[in-house]
């Protein structure tokens, strides 16, 4: 039985709010389909499992060409948010709030709750050792449920046969 279980491994390298969700959503869907899930958090992706950061991830409108004025409630077809406006104080906080409100309206849990659901569902979460060392972090900086701090080589070893998704 154990050998024929499908395995998926996600590498989370980004720490922005929009890039935190793909692995959480897909990982949860995978667990729901009986798939073994491993998630490796590296570089800015570590913020997703940091106690002090995970519920403070943000999304910035600056240089984000996919974020349109219409998302801010202004009907302007495909007009983007001018970078000159994006740099104004409070714009990142505003964009973040808008995204969080939309997620909440759809019943999507906040990042901390989502991570906990994945842990409870049996996903194995690891922090990247090189990134942890580079940022001067300690095991206690991470939420409960993170199984350990491992090297890239460890990750490669433990995900033999898995489908790997880099985010």
């Amino acid at each position: 039985m154990a050998n024929d279980t499908r395995k998926m491994a996600f590498i989370c390298s980004k720490g922005t709010l929009d890039m935190a969700y793909p692995a959480l959503v897909m990982g949860w869907a995978a667990l729901g389909n009986g798939v073994d899930v491993t998630i490796f958090f590296t570089f800015w992706g570590l913020d997703i499992i940091r106690k002090s950061r995970q519920d403070h991830l943000e999304i910035a409108p600056v240089a984000n060409t996919s974020m349109k004025m219409s998302m801010m409630g202004i009907h302007a077809d495909n007009a983007g948010i001018p970078n000159a406006i994006g740099v104004l104080p409070g714009m990142t906080a505003l964009a973040t709030k808008l995204m969080k409100d939309k997620m909440k309206a759809l019943g999507v849990p906040p990042v901390s709750e989502y991570v906990q659901m994945l842990v409870d569902g049996g996903a194995k979460l690891y922090a990247c050792k090189l990134s942890v060392d580079m940022m001067g972090l300690k095991p206690e900086d991470f939420v409960d449920g993170v199984a350990g701090i491992v090297t890239a080589a460890d990750f490669i070893d433990m995900t033999e046969g898995a489908q790997i998704i880099f985010i």
Binding site: T5, V25, W28, A29, L31, G32, N33, G34, G107, V108, P109, Q116, M117, D120, G121, G122
Partner: protein
């Protein structure tokens, strides 16, 4: 769509083996499908989830796992222990409902 005899009763199932009509479901069918899903015995806690899902199905589709945990008070961890490897999907199958729709 095919007809299958489960526990002595002929029922319509889809290509994944899910019952097409929740009305054709019986407790005996649930016990039989549970065995096929690797759950040898349905405990009162299993039945609590099955019954809650049947009561809260929308258009014949079973609720999502997060809806089940919120609605029954049974934790995510316990759901994965009760119905290992894909709890919401397994409950749907056992409860004679369609697969849950939605990402959470």
């Amino acid at each position: 769509m095919t007809t299958r005899v489960i526990s002595g009763k002929a029922v319509q199932v889809n290509e994944e083996g899910f019952l097409l009509s929740p009305d054709e479901w019986t407790q005996e069918i649930a016990i039989e499908i549970a065995k096929e899903e690797g759950i040898p015995e349905l405990t009162p806690q299993h039945w609590k989830v099955i019954e809650w899902c049947r009561q809260n199905a929308v258009n014949g589709r079973s609720p999502t796992l997060r809806q089940i945990t919120a609605g029954t008070g049974i934790s995510t961890k316990e759901m994965f222990a009760l119905f290992p490897k894909g709890p919401a999907k397994k409950v749907a199958h056992i409860a004679g409902l369609g697969k849950p729709e939605g990402c959470v």
